[in-house]
Symmetry: C2
Subunit: 227 residues, 2 copies
């Protein structure tokens, strides 16, 4: 497996392609570390510039603002998820097994293959859990959605919806179940760690991802196996 994954990260997300230069890659790599460390609110281009020994102005040449940078990171994540999903589904024809692969993909601690990438997928996972909804929960969402910047997320959602549909063609809400599954898995992991009373893993008997996995599996199959 090569590093070369041809992701269609929408060009409207960035000003200058960060994949095209060393500095660009540094920006993305260190932004993941810094957003993880500080949280998105406290993260600034100035701090990032300091971290990589560059300047604020230079980072602004790559991304309009920090929101776009987050969007870029998440786009990358969504594309990678879809890629991994397709890769793992190869040769799996059993429809229940296909659904299990979806569940495993969404709940596993880190989505494998971390060796050959130049940034930390575990940190990325944490960012997805804690920050991803901030990318669409904004006033300008409809405006920026016109530029197709959420296409990668929609594609992933559509792919999962397809597998749901294969499993139970009479189920009416494959897309909504797909997004609910994705988002609820993030939430439950977050709650397990930070607000455990909102879950049934109160005293953290098992790990956040184990608990979430069990809950999500139970929910998914009950919804889909019900007549």
């Amino acid at each position: 497996m090569e590093y070369q994954l041809s992701f269609s990260v929408n060009k409207k997300i960035y000003l200058r392609d960060p994949e095209g230069t060393e500095l660009g890659k540094e920006i993305v790599k260190h932004s993941i570390e810094l957003i993880y460390k500080l949280g998105f609110e406290q993260f600034t281009f100035k701090k990032l510039a300091l971290e990589i020994g560059s300047t604020e102005a230079t980072i602004y040449r790559y991304f309009e603002n920090k929101h776009r940078l987050l969007l870029y990171i998440l786009n990358w994540y969504w594309c990678y998820m879809e890629y991994l999903l397709m890769y793992r589904l190869q040769n799996i024809s059993d429809i229940k097994a296909r659904l299990e692969i979806v569940l495993d993909l969404l709940t596993s601690e880190l989505p494998e293959g971390s060796g050959h990438l130049d940034f930390n997928l575990q940190l990325l996972n944490h960012i997805v859990i804690a920050e991803s909804s901030k990318v669409y929960l904004i006033k300008e969402v409809s405006e920026i959605n016109k530029n197709e910047v959420f296409k990668a997320y929609k594609d992933l959602c559509a792919k999962i919806a397809e597998i749901i549909h294969e499993f139970n063609p009479s189920y009416q809400y494959p897309h909504s179940l797909s997004t609910t599954l994705i988002e609820c898995i993030h939430q439950q992991q977050f709650f397990c760690i930070n607000l455990p009373r909102l879950t049934d893993n109160l005293h953290q008997r098992i790990s956040a991802s184990k608990f979430t996995s069990a809950f999500a599996r139970d929910l998914l199959f009950k919804v889909l196996q019900n007549p």
Copy 2:
């Protein structure tokens, strides 16, 4: 029904009780309008002060920062929700009907009783949908959680979990299902309006709340009626 609802809005959320003064009520009332209008990111105390003909410094005497103000608003909402829930559950003993009341409460466009309150519940509803998760998706969540500032949300969640448990005592995840239900209902409404491809209400054939209600009901009963 009187205005007097004795809510236990945690004192650690505010510096000076906004319920105690006219100005305090103005702050809360207009902050709801302004957060709705601008979105939480663009909302500032300066703009709010201008709106109510007061000053920034004065608002800081009530709330430490805008995050606390949002927390206060949501606390009020969660308390109100729990109050409404208990009120509606009176005299309802049929366990399926009790669950229907939960669903209706969470998905109805505005939670009734808007006349006697001095702020707009419809706007509040929009804020809950678009901004509520920002209140906990922060780096300091564990820190501020120690002050019990999320108690109202946990109580609401626990109450719904109780009803879920009554309906199906063998179901293992009443709390997680409760939060998933609440959060997923917000999400689906948001997606219906802003990113409809993430739902199965693509061309908005029915209203966001009608669609969400149908989806949530289907999900809830399938999860709980499954053997």
